[in-house]
């Protein structure tokens, strides 16, 4: 699928939801628990959960940013869960926070 900045995605294997903060300009497969994520507004988001692939079950944390090593994609976790986020099979890692100075 072509990820779009601002898009909200939901896992079909656990409670994880994310927002796309940075997206590559090409088709990629974004998965959680090894299964493709779906748009939160789609009917698939409300379906019964599938079993997660145990190779993708490290969990996600609320409010953390996840990225790939190439830095081409960034997902913000808006609801945590038990599965792992991945892009084209590469498990995403938590991005170190670099907050700007508080300006308001």
């Amino acid at each position: 699928m072509r990820a779009i900045v601002g898009q909200a995605l939901a896992s079909v294997t656990d409670t994880t939801t994310v927002i796309v903060v940075r997206a590559p300009g090409e088709d990629v497969e974004i998965t959680c628990g090894g299964a493709a994520m779906v748009e939160t507004k789609s009917s698939a988001a409300g379906a019964d959960k599938q079993a997660a692939n145990p190779a993708f079950a490290n969990g996600t944390l609320l409010g953390k940013r996840y990225e790939n090593t190439a830095g081409t994609i960034e997902l913000l976790c808006t609801k945590g869960g038990t599965s792992s986020l991945a892009i084209d099979g590469e498990i995403l890692i938590i991005k170190a926070a670099k907050p700007l100075p508080a300006s308001d």
């Binding site: 601002g6 927002i19 609320l62 409010g63 953390k64 609801k79 100075p101 508080a102 308001d104």
Partner: protein, 502 residues
Amino acid sequence: MMNLSLLLDMTRDGFADRVLLGSHTGGITADDLHRRTVGGARELRRTGATALIYLGVNGPAFPVSMFAAARAGIPLVPLNYRLGDEQLRALVAHHPGALAVTDAGQLDRVRGIGVRAMTLEEWLAVTAELAADEIDEPELQSDAAVIIYTSGTTSAPKGVVIRHSNLLSYVFGSVEFGSAAEDEAALISVPPYHIAAVANAVTNLYAARRTVVLEQFTAAEWLNVARGERITHALVVPTMLARIMTADGVDLRVPSLRTLAYGGAAMPLPVIERALRSWSHVDFVNAYGLTETSSTIAVLGPEDHRTAIGSTDPSIRARLSSAGQVVPSIELQIRDEDGAVLPAGGQGRIWVRGEQVSGEYTGSGSVLDADGFFDTRDVGHLDADGYLFIRGRADDTIIRGGENIAPAEIEDSLLGHPDVVDAVVVGIPDEEWGQRIEAAVVLRVGATASSDSLREHVRSRLRGSKTPDRILIWDELPRTETGKLVRREAVARITRNEPASV
């Protein structure tokens, strides 16, 4: 669900029991706020409101209103409670079917112009009564979350449409979720109809930082509350900092303060220099942004301030007067009059692009150019290291104490006086206010109106903050051969002509 309330849902999920609004004891927790905003949305649905007008001082009712409106799928419209009846009527006419929540003192006035209204107390009571865990919410990314009226360059205020996606992008681009320690607290002293109040409400919420509101600013009260509530973060407009720094007989010590952000107008150099010396333990942040850009687009950070104040190199020292560097999520260009992008050092119009940029006004479409850039109508330049220096508005808007004032509105008011045949209103640099308002008029031959009576005329039609501090009486105004008013000449003549007031 994907709208502004996502921010509150996340904070509730992560920090349910943390007090977010008001004092440590008796304040509103994330879970309370969450449930009240659902309650508020239920009330808005029940009444069929098409917009929620907020006409009052800042306080807990403000974030409750913002997120309740988001959940109900309608925009929040914060209006200036100091507007005259006529101006207020003109603005609410853009929002038929709105419900207004107001200060008790405004209730009769608002109902008098035909708007359904309840007091802030009644609103808080009903949101508590109807509080619940959830409500069906619409997808709203491209819809208006907040509409803020600016005075702009003409006398008719423009409603800036700030979408859910603009505010979400701003927050995700500049704040780390839950980054505030439990002891942090922010002091809010900007009025709710200012974009900074909207930005403050959402960024502090997302950082899970408690906020405390100062309803009516005085230097002494700001200092008292900052000490009493152990405030760690605060945002002020330059006028407020000037007053704090020059207040007589006050205790300036605020040991808890870590970060002081300022913005909304140009900061006079003597004021920031004095503040840096008085509060050497504090991180100062200059934030530059517009209503149309959902607040901050450039930041002069704490290290920049320390480096600048400690430097003898004039180009480094000058950065104290800059707006700092552009934030990562914004692209900025300086363009000349023909639209060509200028290199560092070149002065021109400031254009910006980014997800947080609205670029849309109510009643007119997007004003972005073909490449998605927005014309800030501010003039400035970038230095070799990317520091942005703002020269002023391309237009003539007067910024007095952080409030944008259109000269045309005051000029129209003066021209409405029977003795006045011509009028010009300009901003004169002022250490306390950033700019103060001064005017010059030409009287009808034989007329005898005094400067004081003209000021009273304006005050009775607009309000105190829009009343010129001085009104000079001239034989004629500086105009070109084609009749165009030459404002810069008027400014120069007013500045030179100190004692000419009648």
